[in-house]
């Protein structure tokens, strides 16, 4: 049984509290991947998810998150490696897996021309549940997602948030062991998003359902997940708890900018500053930040700030703004992938499971 130590992609700092390699993992993958011809959407990915945790795949669009989740829910066939879900082999025992997992896609899969209740009933029948059990579960779920009043109205009349909640409820009707959420809050307004996070947390705490989610929202990964895997270009760059990963990004982040809005942008100041500061031993790392500035990673920001201003002043580089913050997951992402999440543009055409190009129109996240 290979452990994370065998994976060439992860450094030592990913070990403590991080990957768990265990036969009892509820999801286990081993050098697992999906290639579409030459293009490797998911490349040699190995990870384990423990029962009861909320596990997230964090990465920009095109990183391979959706492909990963679609493989785990048996929609897409892997082209390499092996995986088990709830102990069942992904390729050999596909139907067994389907019985114990729930899936909520990024786009809402709710049937608008059926009522909320009818959607849930159909879903129950697709899992071959008997009618009394279906009825009981429907009542429970409608209460859980707060749709009891509107249950008999057509789902097409629901708001976006309501449809999402219904979608999640249909993924739960058969009391799955693992719930897979693909970009659960993409395209939702902040209020709905916060409410959804609440539901997901409660689901996990009260019902003990393992949650596997993919997201490109740093805040979502940070707030919801017990552990996250940072994925980029189909490879896992790091796996650990959000706090651990943030701690690994050294100390504080001092952000400085050099440009006044009214003056033309001039990179020379930034580059000179970069050269000057990189020579300082107390500077751990320097990255280009938004708006043409620099993020300087230091041990103690409050001591570094006056020093930075003084140094740059010596070299006649005026500092326009300076700010101090704790590292965010964006900094973590930067550290492990060399890019900021926000830089990522989604260029790739996503294949849908039948191998044909997926229609791109109007879907957030560019899928």
């Amino acid at each position: 049984m290979a452990t994370m130590q065998d994976s060439p992609h992860l450094g030592e700092e990913s070990q403590p509290g991080g990957p768990i390699s265990d036969r009892r993992s509820i999801i286990h993958t081993q050098d697992w991947g999906k290639a579409y011809g030459e293009q490797r959407a998911v490349d040699g990915v190995s990870f384990d998810v423990q029962e009861g945790e909320i596990f997230g795949f964090l990465g920009p669009n095109g990183a391979g998150k959706s492909t990963t989740i679609k493989m785990l829910i048996t929609l897409v066939k892997p082209t390499s490696g092996s995986a088990t879900v709830v102990g069942y082999d992904l390729v050999q025992q596909t139907n067994e897996i389907r019985k114990v997992i729930g899936y909520v896609a990024q786009e809402i899969g709710v049937d608008g021309r059926a009522s909320g209740r009818e959607n849930l009933e159909l879903q129950g029948h697709l899992y071959n549940m008997d009618t009394p059990t279906i009825r009981r579960r429907i009542d429970e779920l409608l209460t859980l997602v707060d749709l009891t009043k509107e249950a008999n109205k057509l789902a097409g009349t629901y708001s976006g948030g309501m449809r999402k909640r219904l979608d999640i409820a249909t993924g739960l009707i058969h009391s799955p062991r693992v719930l897979f959420l693909d970009e659960p809050t993409t395209g939702l307004d902040p209020q709905t998003r916060a409410n959804l996070w609440d539901y997901i947390r409660r689901l996990n705490k009260e019902q003990g359902i393992t949650i596997f989610l993919t997201t490109h929202y740093l805040e979502e990964a940070d707030r919801l997940c017990d552990r996250i895997a940072i994925i980029d270009h189909g490879k896992i760059k790091a796996i650990n708890t959000p706090s651990y990963l943030k701690e690994q990004v050294s100390g504080d982040v001092v952000n400085i900018t050099f440009d006044r809005p009214e003056l033309p942008t001039d990179d020379s100041r930034r580059e000179t500053a970069r050269t000057v500061l990189s020579q300082q031993t107390w500077v751990r790392d320097i990255q280009t930040a938004d708006r043409g500035g620099l993020n300087v990673y230091v041990e103690a920001g409050n001591q570094a700030m006056p020093e930075i201003i003084r140094l740059l002043d010596q070299h006649s580089i005026p500092v326009v703004t300076i700010a101090l913050s704790r590292p965010s997951l964006d900094d973590v992402f930067l550290k492990y992938t060399g890019r900021q999440m926000r830089d990522e543009a989604d260029q790739q055409i996503k294949m849908n499971p039948w191998g044909g190009p997926r229609r791109m129109g109007g879907r957030p996240g560019g899928r």
Binding site: L75, L122, Y127, F180, P353, W354
Partner: protein
């Protein structure tokens, strides 16, 4: 059995979904009713004249009746099935594009059931339309010689024919995943099928290559089979039998091809 239960519930879902967008059903009915009204106005006199001509030389009206309505309604019914069933594949593509299908595929539902339910859903909805069409025709003066046999045969033929065409439509949908392809195939096939048959004229009056080609047209056989009990007190069960055989084979072939194609495409 799983397949049967799954098919049942999915078919009910498909039927309800279609009924809840009545616009499409009404739209689907508008054309046949329009044609019924217009064509009967156009051709009613022609049929009467043929009857008189034939009577003069002691023969029978080649139409088999003096009422164009009685002659035409069977054709209109099957035309409705033909055009309606040809659209079935686009509904499957809608589910593919919307994420509804993905959701279903993550469950242990039988893949075959999904396709069967799509086909059956379309066909059952079409049968409901036929009830309305028949009522409208009856109001217009349509009469059947062997009414019970006519109704039973009409629905049976419509069912088989519908399944065959819907099967083809869904097969195209599964292979191409594009509504445009389904609609192109639909247009390319439905009009010729409808024209190269005895829908408007008895074959004897058409003659030539059309008469030969029509014998290979399943729609021709379907229309003739329904016409038998409509126009005759003594039904020629031979014609009806051949029609059932041809339509049955076509239905089995296309439904099987569609179900198989889907199973293969969605296999993991």
């Amino acid at each position: 059995m799983n397949v049967i239960k799954n098919t049942y519930y999915l078919t009910m879902r498909n039927i309800k979904a279609q009924l809840r967008v009545p616009v499409f059903l009404l739209f689907g009915l508008a054309q046949p009713i329009l044609w019924l009204v217009l064509f009967s106005q156009l051709f009613q006199n022609q049929v009467k004249m043929m009857g008189q001509l034939a009577a003069q030389s002691g023969g029978a009206n080649p139409y088999g009746t003096n009422s164009f309505l009685d002659f035409f309604v069977p054709a209109i019914i099957l035309q409705n099935v033909l055009f309606g069933a040809a659209w079935s594949g686009t509904l499957l593509i809608n589910d593919m594009d919307s994420g509804v299908l993905d959701k279903m595929l993550a469950t242990p539902v039988s893949r075959v059931a999904i396709v069967l339910a799509r086909i059956l859903g379309s066909v059952v909805t079409l049968l409901m339309q036929i009830v309305v069409l028949l009522l409208v025709a009856l109001i217009m003066g349509f009469r059947m010689q062997s009414a019970l046999a006519a109704v039973l045969i009409a629905f049976a033929v419509a069912l088989l024919f519908g399944m065959g065409i819907a099967g083809l439509s869904n097969l195209v949908a599964i292979l191409t995943r594009r509504s445009e392809a389904v609609m192109s195939v639909s247009t390319f096939i439905t009009m010729p099928l409808f024209m190269l048959s005895s829908s408007f004229l008895p074959l004897a009056l058409i003659g030539g290559w059309v008469e030969t080609v029509a014998k290979f047209n399943p729609l021709y056989w379907g229309v003739e089979a329904v016409r038998q009990p409509v126009l005759n007190a003594n039904v020629d069960w031979g014609t009806v039998g051949i029609a059932f055989a041809i339509l049955g084979v076509i239905a089995v072939v296309f439904v099987t091809l569609a179900a198989n194609a889907f199973r293969v495409r969605t296999a993991v």
